[in-house]
């Protein structure tokens, strides 16, 4: 059953990302990406990280992608979707990506074999995660809140229309 779930989620996420590469409409791209991120959340839950799976679905598939959809709505490109790149660029990019994949695979091939689920189950419930977050990772947590404030203020300042001068 868990194998079936794994392969279902993996195939759906890979297929939706492939469809995103092939589709030209940006709104469809965003919706396909929401599907892929939801499948990734399911994979997280399958590993056993239930809290991270919830966060993934709420924050990524919920908040971030809705931000994308809103920006697509605001941009409203009139002159159609831009055509794809030239052929040789596509082949070159696929070549670069394959080389990178091979590098990753060869670098981590040694670690793939002994990776098997150990019988010892560590509790990954939100309680222990929160305890770790507020004791050992307290400073990164606080710095993250500063980062979010900076991003909030920065995005408002960037997008705000200037009142007096319209030159820039």
């Amino acid at each position: 059953m868990s194998y079936f779930l794994f392969f279902l989620l993996a195939i759906v996420s890979i297929a939706s990302i492939l469809a995103m590469i092939l589709t030209k409409n940006q709104a469809y791209n965003a919706l396909l990406l929401i599907l892929a991120f939801t499948c990734t959340g399911g994979l997280f839950a399958l590993i056993g990280a239930s809290f991270i799976a919830t966060i993934q679905i709420i924050i990524y598939a919920g908040a971030i992608m809705i931000l994308f959809v809103f920006v697509i709505m605001m941009i409203n490109i009139r002159d159609g979707i831009p055509p794809e790149r030239k052929k040789w660029t596509i082949y070159f990019s696929i070549f670069v990506a394959v080389v990178f994949l091979a590098e990753l695979f060869f670098a981590l091939k040694g670690t793939l074999a002994p990776l098997s689920t150990s019988g010892i189950e560590q509790s990954s419930d939100p309680t222990s995660l929160g305890r770790l977050l507020f004791t050992e990772y307290l400073y990164p947590f606080e710095i993250t809140s500063i980062l979010i404030i900076a991003a909030l203020v920065g995005s408002i300042v960037l997008v705000k229309k200037k009142e007096n001068n319209d030159s820039n």
Binding site: L33, I47, F68, P82, L115, L129, L147, I148, A151
Partner: protein, 100 residues
């Protein structure tokens, strides 16, 4: 129970697809989405390795990565909106101000 290496290989494939999408696509928004795909693949690898090491620290890192991705999405989309407002386009081929 599924072997952890399956998840690692899946994260490789997702990262690969993210790179391909980044280079094949030509508008800034979709390229930004490709960056999010790569972040997600890295998150999957983090969680898989955390499970195999039997430690919760990887999940905490993923929590931080998701938070930073949220901040990055807000700033990046604001910059894309600003570029569109100035240049009336988000095609990367038309944004060639620094081309010699």
């Amino acid at each position: 129970m599924i072997p952890i290496s399956y998840f690692i290989v899946l994260s490789f494939i997702l990262f690969f697809l993210g790179i391909v999408a980044f280079f094949v696509k030509k508008d800034l928004l979709t390229q930004f989405m490709a960056v999010e795909i790569m972040l997600n693949a890295a998150n999957l690898a983090f969680i898989a390795f955390a499970k195999s090491a039997n430690a919760l620290d990887g999940q905490v890192i993923v929590f931080f990565v998701i938070t930073v991705a949220g901040a990055e999405a807000a700033i990046g989309l604001a910059i894309i909106l600003l570029i569109f407002r100035h240049r009336k386009t988000i095609k990367t081929e038309d944004i060639n101000l620094m081309k010699g």
